[in-house]
């Protein structure tokens, strides 16, 4: 399982790369493995507002359709349009080319809810196999 130290995480298996007031968001290696072959990704539009904990995207694999919840509140600045035709990028490069959106962070306090790489790793180890 690949967990990058320089990223932040949620218990819903999203990762965030925070630069200034912008957060790039995707789903983790653990999440993509669990889902299996990803066949469809539905993203919000640039300009939409995301609310922490509320559904803002969905991911479908051969076996299942899953909701993705916004890790932080804010305006969606950019979306990864490549995923429309190549959703398999999420399986192949979950932390790079498989990114979902960039959010303009609205409330700095919400960052307290995010996990460090070490904490996310510990969280995964505690999950039922």
């Amino acid at each position: 399982m690949n967990i990058l130290e320089n990223l932040l995480y949620t218990k819903e298996h999203e990762w965030l790369k925070i630069e200034g007031n912008l957060a790039t968001v995707g789903i983790t290696d653990y999440a993509q493995r669990l889902l299996g072959d990803i066949t469809f990704v539905e993203l919000p539009k640039a300009g939409d507002k995301a609310a922490q904990g509320k559904q803002f995207a969905s991911v479908e694999s051969i076996k299942a359709a899953s909701d993705v919840y916004a890790p932080l509140s804010g305006k969606i600045i950019k979306v990864n349009t490549a995923l429309a035709d190549s959703p398999q990028l999420v399986n192949q490069y979950p932390y790079t080319e498989g990114w979902f959106v960039v959010i303009e962070i609205e409330n700095e306090k919400e960052k307290q809810d995010l996990l460090s790489g070490a904490d996310y790793k510990k969280y995964l180890e505690g999950l039922p196999k």
Partner: protein
């Protein structure tokens, strides 16, 4: 409930398979990935563990044993070493199970059924078979492997001999494999040229390992088996058909021999006269998004039916599915598939979705 395991469970674990429950069994869902396994089956050869499926051996004449009344297919004109797909129905015409009947001799038959239906089928068979027929549930003492893909004949010829080439679609023969004489039929559930190989439990692992030594062969799990069968428009028992659905509604009337008597025929004839209340439809979605089992089907904002199977199609790169609708629809008609906030536009089409299957190839 404790899940049953096939003799290959340790092999699946060694190969790193993701395991999951199916029909009361712990089965491999995928090894390398469903799409990769699906595509490998369409282009090369895949090996499936199908030991979970049920097998009954019946000794007795087709008519005197009662078998003719239990299965819906014509047995009277069936040549020896032929397989036929058909149903066992209840008195209301609902499908107890779909099965393949093999005629071994005039007075010996093999019935191959769904894993989850073994007990129900056995009860139904024992209830309706005559006392002088002999039924054996051979599910536990024998195994089955499915070898499927355009090069499966060439792979199998290396193990069972070149006589394998003489098997036509839906026929079978006896072949010596690993020192044991057993049935191989040219049948399957993928739409590709393929074989189902029957073997005693003690030889299953050896046969599995032998077949996987061929570089053209890779293991495939139930995930790929499901997308392969759906691309062909083959129904899955428990999902697309069940005891409250008739073969008429499922669009499978051609597997009913209405010139003979069988259990459920009265109800079928009555339903034919009245006309059905629902029909099975096949649809393509207009995106990569796929519907799932139990999504609702709408037309002109009116709910008209329900999705029974749906998936992304690796061969077509769009969503495909099947379902039942209460209104007469035709090819080209537009429908909308809904679940919560999800709305997927789809268009009716014909089966099979995938039209390049090699199952019936001749040479």
């Amino acid at each position: 409930m404790n899940l049953l395991e096939t003799p290959l469970i340790a092999e699946h674990r060694k190969l790193g398979a993701r395991l999951g429950p199916f029909g009361g069994w712990l089965m491999p869902i995928q090894y390398s990935g469903i799409i990769a396994e699906h595509e490998w089956t369409r282009k090369n050869v895949s090996l499936f563990d199908t030991c979970h499926m049920g097998r009954f051996i019946l000794k007795g004449q087709y008519d005197r044993s009662g078998l003719d009344k239990i299965v819906t297919v014509n047995l009277s004109n069936m040549p020896i070493r032929r397989c036929r797909y058909g149903f066992m129905l209840n008195e209301s015409g609902g499908i107890i199970d779909d099965l393949v009947t093999y005629k071994i001799k005039d007075d010996e038959w093999l019935l191959v059924v769904n894993a989850a239906r073994i007990a129900a089928d056995e009860a139904h068979l024992r209830k309706h078979l005559s006392v002088d027929s002999k039924l054996e549930n051979a599910s536990a003492r024998s195994g089955k492997l499915d070898l499927q893909g355009p090069f499966s004949k060439d792979v199998l010829a290396g193990i069972a001999g070149s006589r394998i080439s003489s098997l036509k679609y839906y026929t079978f023969g006896f072949f010596t494999i690993l020192g044991e004489e057993n049935i191989i039929s040219r049948t399957g559930y993928t739409g590709e040229l393929g074989y189902e190989i029957y073997i005693s439990n003690g030889k299953v692992v050896e046969l599995w390992d032998t077949l996987l030594k061929d570089v053209r062969v890779k293991p495939a799990g139930l995930g790929a088996r499901d997308t392969l069968r759906l691309e062909m428009g083959y129904g899955l028992y428990g999902q697309d058909i069940n005891a409250s659905i008739t073969p008429l509604e499922a669009g499978l009337e051609k597997f009913l021999d209405l010139d003979k008597d069988f259990i459920g025929k009265g109800a079928i004839l009555e339903k034919k006269k009245k006309g059905g209340s629902r029909q099975m439809v096949y649809f393509l979605t207009d995106s990569r998004r796929a519907p799932r089992h139990n999504y609702k089907i709408f037309r002109d904002n009116k709910e008209i039916g329900i999705v029974t199977s749906g998936s992304f199609s690796p061969s077509l790169s769009c969503g495909i599915g099947t379902g039942y609708v209460k209104e007469p629809l035709k090819k080209g008609d537009k429908i909308v598939l809904c679940e919560g906030a999800i709305e997927i536009n789809a268009t009716l089409t014909d089966k099979p979705f995938y039209k390049h299957g090699t199952a019936q190839r001749r040479w």
